[in-house]
């Protein structure tokens, strides 16, 4: 009856995770065939998930270290500006205090986004919750992938926009929700819709939303702290500053101040780059997770190609703060077809690369 059911059922215990190639509407061109060849023939979605987990964990560690380091350096620099602490030894307590403050702020910010984030995002995107009678097939498809993941059925939202996109939200699977635009809903076949919803369900399953919110909070904190510090430095510099007095230990303090200034300029950029690298990894992970659920890489691959062909940005409903949640970047200038900025600031990997990885699984 349905191809997806046959494929899902045919997986045997001895050979888990190796999807079967099936008939599909995706025909790779020459460039795509080269990209596919770059992956080993024995590639499975578990390999991709393991790789993505490793990369994401490493990124998260770097982020925490960065936040704490900034806290320490900025705190000590502020003490120096205020005129106290002429040498490194008396500075140490304030450095420790700054690190601790950065950690506490990170924890508080996380708690805030934990309880308020999901509903705020759904409201901002203009999504409205729909029930089964209005679109039985959409509900069936979502419930199918929820069953495949062994998770409760998420709430389903529709965004009344002709642009093509979809996203998931919710801090854990119990609070999960998926949203899709009317434009995308109308243009996908059942198999493609299943691929897209499996991608969103994979985001929920991997706790990506929780992680992305944590990440956004940390980036926000870093940007805020550095900005505040630079303002303080700017004004006290113009006033001539109280720091110019010839106190002892001047060399070390001067080095510290320069480090603090450089860090305050560079850190927000680094934080943004890490956040986006992390976001791209999560997209690959969700693609791999979608294949784990449906065992049919071609549905998602075909849907992504349709999405890539869509030129219409999601005006009003999406901004840089929420862009990372969507299945493809909702902002037109952030698409690779209109790339005016470097790829390190992109929240999503190139669609071509994503399709190549999916087709590599379908060989």
């Amino acid at each position: 009856m349905s191809r997806a059911a046959g494929e899902a059922g045919s997986v045997s215990a001895r050979e888990p995770g190796r999807p079967r190639p099936g008939p599909g509407g995706v025909v790779p061109d020459a460039e795509m065939r080269e990209r596919i060849k770059a992956y080993p023939g024995s590639l499975t979605f578990q390999d991709l998930i393991r790789k993505n987990r490793r990369d994401s964990a490493a990124l998260m560690v770097v982020m925490v270290v960065l936040a704490v380091a900034i806290g320490g350096v900025i705190a000590s620099a502020i003490v120096v500006y205020a005129g106290g602490a002429p040498d490194m030894e008396t500075l140490l307590p304030s450095i420790a205090l700054g690190c601790a403050a950065a950690l506490v702020a990170a924890i508080l910010g996380t708690l805030w986004s934990w309880y308020g984030g999901a509903s705020a995002i759904l409201m901002m995107s203009g999504a409205r919750e729909v029930q089964k009678p209005s679109d039985p097939q959409l509900f069936n498809v979502v419930e199918e992938v929820a069953i495949a993941a062994g998770l409760p059925m998420p709430r389903v939202y529709l965004i009344d926009d002709t642009a093509m996109n979809a996203f998931a939200t919710g801090r854990d699977p119990r609070h999960g929700a998926v949203a899709i635009t009317r434009g995308l809903r109308e243009k996908l076949t059942r198999d493609e819709l299943q691929g897209v919803m499996a991608h969103e369900m994979a985001h929920i399953r991997h706790l990506d939303i929780r992680f992305a919110m944590l990440m956004a909070t940390m980036v926000g904190l870093i940007v805020f702290a550095c900005d505040a510090f630079l303002r303080v430095a700017w004004y006290s510099g113009r006033r001539g500053g109280r720091r110019s007095g010839g106190k002892g230990g001047g060399g070390a303090v001067a080095v510290l101040l320069i480090v603090a200034l450089v860090l305050a300029v560079v850190a927000p950029l680094v934080a943004r780059i890490i956040q986006m690298a992390y976001s791209r990894q999560r997209e690959y992970l969700a693609d791999a997770g979608a294949v784990e659920l449906t065992r049919n890489p071609l549905g998602l691959a075909s849907a992504l190609q349709k999405l890539a062909g869509d030129e219409e940005p999601l005006v009003d409903t999406a901004n840089r703060g929420t862009a990372h949640m969507y299945i493809v970047n909702p902002l037109r200038k952030m698409r690779e077809s209109h790339q005016s900025i470097s790829s390190v600031f992109l929240s999503h990997p190139p669609v071509k690369e994503r399709v190549a990885r999916l087709l590599a699984l379908a060989r």
Binding site: M1, S2, A5, A8, G9, V11, N140, I147, A148, G150
Partner: protein, 210 residues
Amino acid sequence: MDTGIVGGAAAGLSLGQLAAGMGLVVVIGLVVVAASLILWLIAMYNGLVRRRIDVDNAYSQVDVQLKRRHDLIPNLVETVKGYAGHERGTLEAVISARTRAVQAGSGSIGERAEAEGFLTQALGRLFAVAEAYPQLKANTNFASLQEELASTENRIGFSRQHYNDTVAKYEESRQSFPANIVAGAFNFDGREYFRLEQSAEREVPKVSFS
């Protein structure tokens, strides 16, 4: 003896007191080792229990989806009868396959898989027959039943896939060393995969559109 080595706090400690102190350290060490061993065993036992519960939950999900299919069939048969009543053989095959599948519900996993396989085959023939009746295909009730059955097939497939995954995890932890000792001592019995290989579904001829 030489207080310089032990430090100021141990000043004036006799050799006997020192030996007693070391004995205490050894006893504490043994207690710590034994306690962590027990905690480790408890964790292993609880891990096995959790995985077994996962397996049983996943199986009940398969059960729910199979029942869902059984419940949809009488409605489907009635709808098809209205347009293609003389396809008696096909309709009766579906009804008897459904009855058999419902009865197999209390049997072993192998029996269920086989009965459900026959039902899938019979349904496949019914939908193939329906292709010849344009009025039936235009019926909205039939169209929605077709979507529900297509979705149910997917749900059965996906819930079985999830069930097999949880069985694989459970069997892996149950059979690997040293958890297999705990599993053996507390009678963690094996769980069966829901395999299509045992069923008639395997013999369904492949339909090719090329």
